[in-house]
Amino acid sequence: MDAFRVIEIKQSVYADNNAEADRLRGEMKNSKTFLLNLMSSPGSGKTTFLKRTIGELKNDLKIAVLEADIDSDVDARAVAEAGAEAVQLHTGGMCHLTAGMTRQGTETLDSENIDLVVIENIGNLICPAEFDTGAAANVMILSVPEGDDKPLKYPNMFSVCDVLLINKIDVQPYFDFNVDLCTERVRKLNPDIRIFTLSGKTGEGFSPWIQWLKNAVREWQVSDRIQENALMKTRH
C-alpha cells in the first residue's frame, strides 16, 4: 500500500463566497443598483429604521428590501406597506447571509429599474461580519439599550462596516450609553467609519443619514469604478 503523503490545499474557506460576492457586485454596478447590507443584533430597530428610511426616499429612489429575518414574513409585509418592494428570503435558520443567498433575492427583482436594495441581514453581530454579500456598502445598527461596550465584544463587525448608526437615541436619557466613548472605541477599530446618531422611532438625526445615503447611491450610479468598501479590505 502507498505511504501517506501531504497534499497541500491552502484554500481559504471564504474564497468561493468572496468570488461570488465580487461577481454580484459587478452585476449590481452594471444595473446601477446600490446594494446595502444592514446588520445588527435582533431588536436593534432595523425594521422600524428601514420603514422611515424608505418613507424619506421613496419619491426619489426605487427601493427594494431583501428580508432575511428568520423565517417569517411579518417584516416583509411591514416594509412593503412603507413603499418598497419586499422579498422574503428563507434562510432556514442560518446565522448569516452568503452572496449566493443574496443573489437568489436580487434575481427575483427587476434590478434594471431599482436604485437601492437593502438587505435586512440576520440579527447577529458575529457571523454576518465574515461573509461578503456583494453589497456596495455595509451598515450596522447599534441601539442605545445594547450598551456602548459592544465594539469591545464584537470588534470584527465594527471593523467591516462603512457606516455605524447609533439608534434609539430618543431613549438615551434612560441608559448609561456614552456616545463619545462608543465613538472612540469604534474609531480605534475602524478610523474611516461614518457614524450617525438617530432614532428610527422619532426621526431625530435622520437628515444627515438620508443625505449620506442619497450621495452614496448617486456616486455608485455615476462612477464606473467599484470602490473597495471596509469589508472588502478586511476579507481573507
Binding site: A3, I7, Q11, D16, C127, E130, R187, L189, T234
Partner: protein, 113 residues
Amino acid sequence: MHELGLMAEIVDKIEAVAKENNVTEIETLVLDVGEYSGVVPEYVEECYPAVIEGTLLEKTALKINVIPGKARCENCGTGFAVKGNENCCPRCGSQKCKVIEGGEFVIKEIVAR
C-alpha cells in the same frame, strides 16, 4: 456560529480533492484558524464528528493550527502582535494599523494515500 455550515463545505471540498488525487484514505485534515477569523476552534471540533459521518473523512483526524493575530502600522511600518496592543502601534502610537495575519480560515493540507 457558522462553523457547522463551513465544516460541511470543507468536507465536500476535501472529498473532491481526494477524488482528483486518487486518494482512498485520509489520515489527517489540517486547518489554519486565525485568532481573529471569527471561527471558534472549540466549535469546529465539536461539530466535526457530525459532519464527517458517512463521508470519506469518517476516520480522519482533525488538526487545527491557531494563527495569532499580527498587525502592521501603516505610519511607521512596525509589525506587532494584535493581542495586548489594541490596534495601536507600540512604536509610534498610530492607530492606522492593518491586521496582516490572524484573520484567515484556511484548509491547509491533508495527509492521505
